[in-house]
Amino acid sequence: MLRGNILSGAPFRAAILFVGIFIVILTMTSVVLYRLTEFSLYRELEDQIDAETVLFSELYKRGGQGALVSALRQFERPVIAQERIAGLFDAQGNKLAGNIPSAPDLVGWQSLKMALQRPGGGGNFHLVAVRLEASTLVVGRNTRFIDAVLKRLVYDFAIAGLVVVLASLLIGYVLSRRMFFKLKRLAEILSSVSRGDMQARVPVESANDQIDRISRQINVHLDRLSALMSSTQNTVNAIAHDLRAPLNRVYLLLQEAGAARGLDDETAGLIDNAGTELVKVNEIIDTILRIARIEGGSDLQHFTVFSLADLVAELAEVFQPIIESAGQVLSVDVTDSPAVRVNGDKNMLRQMLVNLIENAICHCPANTRISLETGATPQHGAVVCIADTGPGIGPELREKVLEPFFRLDASRSSPGSGLGLTLVKAIAVRHGATLTLEDNEPGLRVRIAFPPALSGPASPA
């Protein structure tokens, strides 16, 4: 996984491209150099052979065939036969002298493989055959030396190429690895920010490469984001305090008024109702503040790993009698296992589940079946489902009901502030969970899928 990520990294791909281009250039250069070397070595050899041929021709012209034959006899001595060859043949191709067994078929320059009579003699020879009146003079040299040089040349090129290829791949891997870890750290920081850790900043190295520059830019944005969030938080707290203080005073005054002596029942009832309404106003403010705080929240200090199944079972026990007395039926399917563990704030999740269960109780008629289930996603995260067989929510409204103050009942006659599902959503998002409203055929099915508890929202998968 890790190695795969490094090998698919940009620097390593660049290294592979470089290696490919290098191999093409190296091959072309080698071919040219090989040919040039071969050519010049043969030229030198031919110069030597030419000089010898001229010498033998001079000898023939001055001393006749006899002088040449006696000179060529020298070549029949074994010492010479390894490197140099020479021979004189008559018009019928019969050997007159020299260490060549037979005359070549053609006149002129040629390379031949030849076996000499001498032991150990033989090999590849470069030679020239010239006509001297009726007879043929052949002079040549063994090309063993040239072959060795050329072989060496090919070998050297191969070694150099191999070293460069390996070095490039290694450098590419190292660079890619460095970049990979930098990017990985960047991704980790960003995901911990998205989970609410506003203090996290990307480390910037002195290298000042593109990643460092992007990191610096990201940090600037994070600074601005956290400043914005803390100013929102401060505003929200200020509003809370400023609104609560007069609200509190009104509530106290109402209580004093209600406790006064000599009130008639009607007035006492009115004061009582005013108090109840005031408490509702306060609850709405509380919920708005709670949503704002959860959405802008950053600390994970109340997060623990616990069993979602236990929490659901506990709430099932609390609401069983209430569901029964509403004439509804509760079915519970929870089994505790490591798969249903979540990393979360138990108080928040309890409130979220209570909101959903109470929604089902309040919005469904008698004989509705309300079911609570826990399970696990294929990614090993816990899932909780709260489903009912009530009236359900049309597909076009399923997104809208999550918005603040949206209510299915437009007349707003039913109890509730229209903030319940907004709070549910905020809590789900805070836990990195996905909230989906589905058709239960009939009814509504609310499904909340959590990320795996072990990696949890605290570290990326």
């Binding site: 509190n248 408490v279 503040l289 709670r290 705080r293 109340h302 009698p321 209430i322 309040c362």
Partner: protein, 225 residues
């Protein structure tokens, strides 16, 4: 009981003072955090009602300073900060209870009464008894007279709180917090339903009812006088 009320909102402090005085308590009011600390250190109060946001020194710092002097005086936080986290923070710092503004006076009174009679130190009682109702805290069983009563875990917890506060009002909010860990008001009748279930088990089959409803305030458990 001698009670100190520390709240920078003078009308709140005066309201609390008036109400508590009517119920027979002696009450001092102060409006600054630093005063709160020195009043606590040099007077022998039985209980402190402490606002969290005060000039001079905030309630949390007062409480921390107080606990640092090994003072075990019961402290009820009174605050406009409603969040669960604030609550947890307040209780962790050594607060004994936490009440959010705006509050009903009966709620405050019930909590003060519950705290005042809380026995200091470790409670070694293993059985609770009211009239002919007996609760064994070790075996987690209940019986009334000779007949044993089968209770679920939460019913047992509910009954235990009522019995520990024998004769005192326990509010709905207190029950929600202590029995079910609900730090919010549910829309459905959670407390009423469970109280009526409990009544069906411990009161209905017998002649003398023990659980009594106090209108607009809560429940209390006591034997007929």
């Amino acid at each position: 009981m001698k009670i100190l009320v520390a709240d920078d909102d003078r009308s709140t402090a005066a309201f609390i003072q008036k109400g508590l005085t009517e119920h027979g308590h002696t009450v001092d009011c102060i409006h600054d955090g630093r005063d709160a600390l020195s009043y606590c250190l040099y007077n022998n109060y039985d209980l402190v009602v402490l606002d969290r946001m005060m000039p001079g020194m905030d309630g949390m710092s007062v409480l921390k300073a107080l606990r640092a002097t090994n003072s075990e005086i019961p402290v009820i936080f009174l605050t406009a900060m409603a969040d669960v986290d604030d609550r947890v923070e307040g209780l962790m710092a050594g607060g004994d209870d936490y009440l959010v503004k705006p509050f009903h006076f009966s709620e405050l009174l019930a909590r003060i009464t519950a705290l005042a009679r809380r026995p200091s130190g470790f409670d070694e009682k293993t059985t609770l008894k009211v009239h002919d109702l007996e609760l064994d805290l070790l075996t987690r069983t209940a019986k009334r007279g000779d007949s044993s009563i089968d209770l679920q875990a939460k019913e047992f917890a509910l009954l235990e709180i009522l019995m520990r506060n024998e004769g005192r009002v326990v509010t709905k909010t207190m029950l929600l917090e202590q029995v079910w860990d609900f730090n919010f008001d549910p829309r459905t009748t959670v407390v009423e339903t469970h109280i009526s279930r409990l009544r069906a088990k411990i009161d209905k089959p017998f002649d003398v009812p023990l659980i009594h409803t106090t209108r607009n305030s809560g429940y209390s458990l006591y034997a007929p006088r």
